[in-house]
């Protein structure tokens, strides 16, 4: 046995292979370089996002999976709970008394709900973790009416598969699947940490659910529309995952 620990001749093929590997690695790092978005691969990446929406809706989502609840002591200090809006300064109603939520589209009972009517509905209150698409999380208590009871009130037709939520925040809107809307923890919230919702968190009424990322939780609600086609949304139309389920 000859122990040539440092072979001098690696062989021509081996050297060629190394060049080949270098080219492959180079291409891979070029692809990563410069914050490349995807170029010609963009349609494939968007297609994969659709597939992930399907997986999220059909496999992960379940009305029986309830988000864990936390004690009040686990709440995030209110000043540390971020709030986003498109309009700056914060969107606010000029005539809060005249506000009402319109519920329409593919429904048998189009309806108009005032804040008092929504507050008179059975109350859901929970302290849950909020997940932002950016990666931060915060805990707060939310109070509102179950969206499922509003859906039952409006009686969507068989053709209705989606909901579109509109706001008075400069065209901010979201599209939802019906099952997430019917989740027992999906609510139309009017209170944050046991006090009325302020303008930072979507007053007078916002959508809330621990089964969706924050950007799906439309604030400053004006209208709910039942549709047969999947509605777009402010961030979704720009490329964010449509389902946004957590």
């Amino acid at each position: 046995m000859t122990d040539d620990r440092f072979p001098k001749n690696l062989g021509a093929l081996s050297r060629r292979d190394m060049i080949r590997l270098g080219l492959t690695a180079g291409a891979a790092s070029l692809a990563t370089a410069c914050g490349w978005q995807g170029g010609p691969l963009m349609p494939a990446i968007q297609g994969a996002s659709r597939l992930n929406d399907w997986v999220g809706e059909k496999i992960f989502l379940s009305s029986r999976h309830l988000a864990p609840q936390y004690p009040h002591s686990a709440r995030t200090p209110e000043g540390a709970f971020p709030a986003y809006s498109i309009t700056h300064p914060l969107p606010q109603l000029t005539d809060p008394a005249g506000w009402a939520l319109e519920v329409g589209g593919l429904v048998r009972q189009p309806t108009r709900l005032t804040l008092e009517m929504i507050q008179a509905m059975p109350r859901v209150r929970y302290t849950v973790k909020h997940h932002c698409v950016e990666g931060w999380s915060a805990i707060a208590t939310w109070t509102g009416a179950s969206l499922a009871s509003v859906v039952r009130l409006a009686q969507p037709t068989a053709a209705a598969k989606y909901l579109r939520f509109d706001s008075f925040d400069k065209g901010y809107s979201n599209g939802w699947d019906l099952e997430s809307a019917m989740h027992p923890q999906t609510i139309l919230a009017y209170a944050f940490n046991d006090h009325p919702l302020g303008p930072a968190h979507g007053a007078p009424l916002r959508l809330y659910s621990p089964v969706k990322l924050g950007y799906k939780l439309t604030k400053y609600l004006t209208k709910i529309t039942f549709t047969a086609e999947r509605p777009g949304g402010y961030w979704e139309d720009q490329g964010y995952p449509w389902l946004g389920g957590v």
Partner: protein, 276 residues
Amino acid sequence: MTEPSEETQAAAEAPQEIIAEPAAPAAPPVVEAVPAAVAEPEPAPIPAPPPTEPARRPLVKRHHGLVRLTHWANAVLLVGMIGSGLQIYMAFTHFGPRGGPYYPNPWDGKPFPLSVRLGGWLAGGLNWHFALAWPFVLSGLLYLGYLVFTGEWRSLLFRPRDVPRAWQMQLYYLRLRKEHPPQGKHNALQKLAYTSILLLGILSVLTGFAIYKPTELAWLTALFGGYQPARYWHFWAVWIFVAFTLVHVALVLLVDPASLRAMITGWYRGRFPSHD
């Protein structure tokens, strides 16, 4: 350089597989048996090569096509997963709940340069990350399935009995032991490294799902200590992958460059034929 015919290769392979059995306790130095195996042609009209030419190393089949495919797929996918992951990290460069305090992190509050990011912005990074995650999982499952199906896991899995062998191997590397310890396909330290990196891959996938669906998979997220801890472990896995890859590539190039060819073509002709 021409490759040997199929028969010669098969002949060269078969006896070595027996040698590779770690069960043979007082096996003679593994390498010495190899030229004999090569020099014994099966139909045997060709005379054995003259003894003046013993330095020619045997060409042996080392890696199955599936192993090579999943290895390189994994390499490319990992680059994409890390690039898009760092892009996602940019949106919130801390670990820990809002209101702090944040977990210790040398990159806390720091951006990563554009050159290592994939996706361009948060949505792009997310879409890339979630698109590549499936082939990444698939390639991992294919490889694990191969290990289980062929029984090759035996030559790869680090088990308690490998602890003293790993120690001996370490002594050899520290030049405190002269003889290279006998081994099968991999030495005990390689087993430790490859077993660990497989576990790291599994950990990355599981923490990834824990971050992806912290409500639907609340039990999994709880297993890692919650959403923010899961993000934290997921992030640290990146640096262990990077460190492993640097050492892995350095060892291939410095210690056994022929193994690079083996991972590309499947055939190995190098100084560690005892691996096979």
